[in-house]
Symmetry: C2
Subunit: 222 residues, 2 copies
């Protein structure tokens, strides 16, 4: 990327996983102190979006899950074009209506993005948008059975993250931080990525094939 | 903790570090699926609170930093009592008014909390509240010089996190996740902590003395 302003978009939906957004955004927030960024946070409406999973996406329980609410700056209808578009995952992706809305937004934006990044089950919606057809990608390992729905994607079970063309996909939740580290090292500079991680006191996994969770969740390593 | 509802409070202030809140909260959000929790997010007012640092806390720059906004559920004035109170850090702690407001809230709440947790420079406000006098604690390594203000605290430079009595303090930003893992393993159960981290695809540092950032930032190891 040059020193021109980077237009970054982050999608929210009810039941997104907080760390899927916050891990990458802690890097980008800090990066914006040394490189110019413009951030849009996009959702269906301008109402605050809760991480709490919709009732239909989780087993019935005696008590309610807790969650936090983030504020959008744009809606799916009025969002601008982006250089980087980040799609988080989370339990909300199990709701068909929610997943379809995000998938439609990805379809609309993909032709004009420079880079599309997904964390966790966000890649299932990227796949549903058809933009991963014939490409390699990864996803959350606990939710791996759902990748089978998208047969035209070459899903890689043992991977912390996968890059194919301009699409970066990471494994579950915390893996988004390692993907973002590698993304910034590749697209901005390795020194900048290291500086940000050192200030965050984060030790990134820098090998994209590091993935103990593939075995923990009993997936074949392909 | 028993199976009674755990009352968890998280403090927000302008310029809090997103991951200081979101790292621990990803654990607690998931934990609330198996243990009953009640979450309060507390700030000065009920307005959304931005991670963007106040202008007076950062060097002048050609461009504005990006940030996200989280919604509070309570104010410093009407917050209930808590079992666990989490104090994040961030650049906003450099603003005297902000730091004083959070410090006053900690002073008011400490007598009734079971556990006080801080991430990053959050420990500087915990120290200012006087509740760390004569106790061990740690803080962000980049911001270490500020710990010298609080001479009555036994600051530990080489530590991922420190526990003294009912006060848990972690090192910078990402260290909050490792502290939370250890906290849940200790206070709930090691198996639960492991289950949450495995679902998050997070590999925690489980040694509280692991701290390469102490050397990176040239701090003596005591």
């Amino acid at each position: 990327m040059t020193d021109n302003q980077t237009r970054l978009g982050v999608v929210l939906f009810p039941g997104f996983a907080l760390l899927d957004v916050a891990g990458p955004m802690q890097f980008f927030n800090q990066l914006s102190a040394i490189k110019p960024f413009e951030l849009s946070i996009i959702a269906k409406t301008m109402d605050a979006v809760y991480t709490t999973p919709p009732k239909n996406t989780v087993p019935e329980s005696k008590f309610d899950r807790i969650g936090e609410a983030l504020l959008p700056t744009h809606t799916f209808d009025n969002a601008p074009e982006f250089d980087i578009l980040l799609i988080p995952g989370g339990l909300g992706t199990r709701d068909e209506t929610i997943a379809n809305e995000v998938t439609s937004f990805i379809k609309k934006q993909y032709p004009t993005v420079k880079y599309l990044l997904s964390v966790c089950t966000g890649s299932l919606m990227v796949a549903a948008a058809g933009v991963l057809d014939g490409r390699k990608a990864t996803s959350n390992k606990f939710a791996w059975p759902w990748t089978k729905i998208h047969k035209s994607v070459d899903w890689i079970p043992k991977a912390r993250w996968v890059v194919d063309g301009n699409i970066w996909s990471s494994s579950g939740v915390a893996a988004g931080m390692d993907m973002t580290y590698a993304f910034i090292a590749t697209v901005f500079s390795p020194d900048i990525a290291k500086e940000l991680a050192t200030k965050m006191e984060y030790e990134p996994h820098t090998n994209s094939e590091w993935d103990p969770f593939c075995e923990i969740w009993n997936l074949s390593s392909k």
